[in-house]
């Protein structure tokens, strides 16, 4: 495959730049600054130092012995991004973009958040590097994730509730874009997934590709060979593209993205973009998006707020069309069951997002004797305890 994206930010036909003209020059400025930083050894060295001393890289690749034995088939390995500071892979990208924002002379950082993981990671790096921080969050998500709202405030961020539309992640992104339009001079928009207008999907991928680079070296050291499959959950798709990227040239390694199957097949009941979605434009990018017959963006549902979004990142759309990656869905119930299984078998409570990836491994493992599967455990489950309590009432008596 030719290197992606092209100069205009296209992955095949996907990606690109679809934003109001007022944002085009700031986005060009961001791209120029990022391309310079990417080549700058001093920038890369500072990022590498923070990733190791502050965030906790490299993360372990852990052999899930008990879960593998219980399922009786494949050898399952977990890439432990859940052990990073703030509890998820999100910090990789936040550190990278915040260093870039400082280099660009910005003093204020804004972000959107769904589950609150990206908001917490953003508030954290803003505290670390001394930025004013504003996080937009749908009111419905604020209600679902009260603990993370408090964490962000404790870290010094201002959390702004968004009451428009579905009051979830999609609306928080729109509101952050409106803020950015009005404050482009001093503000950096720290987008949290591999979405939006170029250079975001490329830049966010670059900041997360260390996940796959580490995992590839670790599995070669541990098993003496490449894995048969790599599995990751896909909302916007940042943790998935992060772990997939180093394996793209290894054609024999199956790459599997797991979308949120929600609670049913009908539009509005899930966030599985390859189950009824069609290519379209939302919030800066062209990619698969769940929409109605008139081109209005559809509502979505997932028990996991981090996967509850109508569009998949443009590079995933391209990998899908090229058949380089395969995309499947796990239902709310399957994810919840997988979370419980992993907690009991290995003593690891996963984030609900990551539990979708675990669920796919649980489905595949029994019939994959002798195979090696790497699962990206992108986040830990502390933030989801309230949802687990609601769904496992028998444990809460």
């Amino acid at each position: 495959m030719t290197p992606q994206p092209d100069a205009g930010g296209h992955f095949g036909p996907y990606g690109g730049r679809y934003v109001p003209e007022v944002l085009m020059a700031p986005i060009e400025e961001l791209e120029t600054a990022y391309l310079a930083a990417r080549q700058d050894p001093a920038f890369q060295a500072e990022l590498a130092l923070l990733l190791s001393t502050y965030a906790g890289r490299p993360t372990p690749l852990y052999f899930a012995r008990h879960l593998s034995a219980q399922l009786g088939g494949a050898r399952l390995w977990l890439k432990r991004e859940d052990l990073l500071h703030t509890g998820a892979h999100k910090i990789n990208n936040c550190l990278g973009q915040a260093l870039l924002a400082r280099r660009m002379g910005k003093r204020r950082i804004i972000a959107e958040t769904g589950a609150g993981q990206h908001g917490v990671a953003t508030a954290t790096v803003c505290a670390l590097l001394g930025f004013e921080c504003v996080v937009y969050m749908g009111e419905e998500d604020m209600r679902r994730q009260r603990l993370n709202v408090f964490r962000m405030r404790l870290l010094g961020a201002q959390v702004v509730g968004v009451a428009t539309g579905s009051r979830t992640l999609k609306d928080a992104i729109s509101e952050a874009m409106r803020d950015w339009v009005a404050h482009v001079g001093d503000t950096h928009y720290l987008l949290g997934s591999a979405l939006g207008a170029h250079p975001y999907p490329m830049m966010v991928r670059d900041f997360h590709k260390i996940i796959g680079e580490e995992a590839r070296a670790q599995i070669l050291a541990a098993e003496g060979r490449l894995p048969d499959a790599v599995i990751a959950c896909v909302g916007g798709g940042s943790n998935a593209i992060g772990i997939f990227h180093a394996f793209l040239p290894d054609r024999a390694v199956q790459l599997i993205g797991v979308e949120a199957g929600g609670r049913g097949e009908a539009l509005g009941q899930h966030a599985a973009r390859y189950r009824g979605g069609a290519p379209g434009v939302l919030q800066g990018a062209y990619s698969y998006v769940l929409q109605d017959e008139h081109g209005q963006i559809a509502g979505t549902h997932s028990v996991s707020a981090g996967l509850d979004y109508a569009m998949i990142g443009p590079e995933h759309a391209w990998l899908h069309d090229q058949s380089r990656a395969e995309y499947v869905a796990a239902s709310d119930r399957e994810a919840l069951d997988a979370a419980r299984l992993l907690s009991r078998a290995e003593g690891i409570i996963p984030a609900l997002e990551s539990a979708h990836a675990v669920a796919e491994a649980v489905k595949r493992a029994p019939a994959a004797s002798g195979r090696v599967i790497v699962v990206n455990l992108s986040g830990r489950g502390d933030k989801d305890i309230d949802i687990y309590r609601e769904n496992f009432p028998e444990l809460d008596r």
Partner: protein, 267 residues
Amino acid sequence: MTRIGCLFDRLRKQGRKGLIAYLTAGDPSPERTPALVEALERGGADLIELGVPFSDPIADGPVIQRAGERALKAGTTLGGVLQMAAEIRGRSEVPLLLFTYLNPVMRYGLERLARDAASAGIDGCLLTDASVEEAGAYAAAMHAEGLDTVFLAAPTSTERRLKLVAEYSTGFVYLVSRAGVTGERDSLSAAVGPLIEAVRRVTALPLAVGFGISKPEHVAELGRQVEAVVVGSALVRLIERNLDNPSLEIQLESFTRELKHGFGAHA
């Protein structure tokens, strides 16, 4: 030449300035839109922007967002807006510009929209999230049916970008008065003067300024500098405040007339 080009020719010959009025089609209901457009015309609007509601309007402030939600709730679709346009065109020659986002247009189909819009009497189209970099296929489809494509120029646009915007625009160029979303403001941004000068340097097309224009004083000040002024949120807010008021059309007409009087002798 479309009705838009003819309008600007006529304005120039008569030494007049144009008032462009935006409303969200289908707000508060599809049935009501033709009568509201007629009220805007009676008040002196020279060109009507018909906003097609979109679920995720990133370029719009709260007033137009709410109008879009009302219109969608009332069942408004792009096809429905074309029907409204055809009804308006049945009795009026006022230029009509579709104002919306890319996704509903792509879903409808670029060629199909160009064909149907032309036969409904639409004169042109402005898509707020279609950057010139991504607009090739869209502009070609519209131009093939004789429709104008209007693009936005912003205070943040570089000279290189302004040249591209001018190159892709036909009919007129729409200048965004300040970095921000749609919505009324008390005063005009200091950014607008330099932007007008910069766009004049790269095009001979007529210029219209919009975003944040809500008072006759704004209209007066801008009328001295550009060919047309766009008012949107202030009109949409008036509609929002009078949803159940039987005199809505009369109020809309008289507010439009007030705005138009801002041009003074050039009205």
